[in-house]
């Protein structure tokens, strides 16, 4: 590379301007694709910029223009495919709109989220995305004060910090509960992770309980293993559920499909036939379902669509366009083969669109 420079310092706008014999403003205009430079100059400048390997310094640019193309994204974990899928949905939109995503995980710890928000805000990003609707007050206030467009995703509330798109987890859990009630189950148990780690899961559990209490089943025993929802923790907790319960449950509702699959393995290891001896239901419509002989009964959430929708809303807000403030997306109940089939006599049909029927 004999480009005339002797030093290894990366080229800056001034170098390009000097080389081209123009002012730095012309270079700036060309690099940003702004009008007001003759076609001849433009090509000259572009050629020189390329030759010098000039890349505009976005840090300086952002400071001067008081704008940014950074979008901060906070997710609890990437081990749940849910968030990977939501992220995939967003990524596409953002990338097309010219934004970059700065991502980090909080491991379900509110305080970690708070500190992340703090650090993030100081980068003056164009927007911020948080998972769920439970945040520390300090994080909330900081975002509002800084005036940064904020999207809350995955959970749903009518009163978001700014924008929100998600599903109603309480209603989703209740829909599953009602479905199981309709199938005749009366001795349910819930299998999840330790309390306090996943508020959405707890909301589903409560919705689930409500459905059964409507039928007079007032207590739903719950079993918890670990902090992380995995195949393995599902198996462990399910084993405990099968061993400990005096009157055996007739159906297990799991925090998600990962745990449900682990639980399914546990049941089979116990010599139980699913769904003859016990029913199993999960959550999320994990793609493992596509290959199982007996697909899991589960709730299908629109993860990718949710990510894309949220991203569109946020971009609209950033660009000053009008957009909806809060969207509650439907959850589709999938009646798999890990719960007993519908009795022919009953007129019951699976409850679709759990989200449409809001709690409260």
């Amino acid at each position: 590379m004999t480009d005339g420079r002797t030093d290894r310092r990366p080229a800056k706008i001034e170098d390009v301007a000097r080389e081209a014999g123009v002012s730095i403003m012309s270079v700036s205009r060309v690099m940003r694709g702004v009008e007001g430079v003759s076609a001849k100059r433009r090509t000259e400048i572009l050629a020189i910029a390329k030759r010098l390997g000039y890349a505009p310094n976005r840090v300086a640019g952002s400071l001067a223009a008081a704008n940014s193309t950074l979008i901060g994204v906070s997710v609890p974990t990437l081990f749940e495919a849910v968030f990977a899928e939501i992220f995939a949905g967003m990524r596409d939109i953002f990338s097309k709109a010219g934004f970059q995503t700065v991502m980090d995980t909080t491991e379900y710890q509110p305080d970690r989220e708070r500190r992340w928000v703090s650090r993030m805000v100081s980068w003056h990003p164009a927007g911020i995305i948080l998972s769920g609707i439970d945040h520390t007050n300090r994080a909330r206030r900081q975002l509002v004060d800084a005036g940064i467009p904020t999207l809350e995703i995955w959970d749903h509330t009518d009163d978001p910090i700014d924008l929100c798109v998600g599903v109603d987890h309480f209603a989703a859990g209740r829909a599953v509960g009602r479905h199981l009630v309709a199938l005749g189950y009366r001795r349910p148990a819930y299998v999840g992770i330790e309390c306090g780690w996943d508020r959405r899961a707890e909301a589903r559990f409560h919705g689930f309980c409500e459905a059964f209490s409507e039928k007079g089943v007032t207590r739903v025993p719950d079993f918890r293993a670990d902090r992380r929802a995995s195949f393995e923790s599902g198996r462990c907790a399910a084993e405990r559920a099968l061993g400990e319960l005096a009157d055996n449950p007739d159906v297990l509702y799991f925090l998600n499909d990962h745990m449900a699959f682990g639980g399914l393995m546990a049941c089979e290891a116990h010599g139980l036939d699913v769904p003859r001896d016990i029913g199993i239901a999960g959550f999320n419509g994990l793609n493992i379902n596509a290959v199982l002989k007996k697909p899991l009964t589960t709730s299908i959430t629109p993860r990718t669509l949710m990510g894309a929708t949220g991203a569109r809303m946020l971009v609209a807000k950033i660009l000053g366009a009008k957009t909806e403030r809060s969207i509650c997306m439907p959850v589709e109940l999938f009646a798999g083969e890990t719960t007993r089939p519908l009795r022919a006599s009953s007129g019951f049909r699976p409850v679709l669109d759990a989200g449409a029927n809001k709690r409260g």
Copy 2:
């Protein structure tokens, strides 16, 4: 909040300095935790900063100090748990060292990676992480020119752009092949995704073939479905493998454990008993193995450790400390129950540490 400000503009360093009756340098020092401010002043300034909700502008700070706490991370996809786990391993180290990660996915498209590098470089990040060792020349050159510490992760080479930590995929595939050879398999087939999407997987396939060619098996038929390695694509491709092959394979080597599990389901659906009628091997040591009645034969890769190690190397390099340039990590062969058990007579033991024995 009656903090004396009437406007909604976020506080800047000048506001704090004025309010405290000191110069902005004192505030700057306090906020950065630099020495040279009396304890009394320090507490005063911190109190005022807190009251005004002052958060230093990192964009301005980075520009002035010509440093950054941003680390760019590029992964092909988040749908493979591999990258989520590598990322988790890194995240921890970076977060402790005070760096933020800017992540994006390339969908296995080199050109997308190139454009991402371009955009990223203009943020002058402290470091950059790329997945794999195959990159466009332009991306390579740009990183070298900009002098940004770069880590290549997951694949391994002795001649990295800058730093590298990964596993030897060729050797890993060969180790599996030799293991299967030792178990007496002679009619192998490979099941993966379309060529050109995952170079690491192809390297494993070639290593696998080499192992069999050592035993005179010169052709290993391969079956490919889809661009994405999923449970479902594994099932589809395996079905094709079972249906199309004139002389049926006695063992199937899958691109990863996801596909292997899908394949296992396909085999069972075909009425085949695994491992009696056919063997199955995967790659990665996915955690589904912990709950399966017959755990998959697979290769366990140290994903989290790899992420952490890579992050440490990169941090060291950024801080100017000495660090190894390239690390090849071991892959552990796991002899599961989806391949036939070892014949008692043979003195064979599973081949460990596939990575130690480098190709070429």
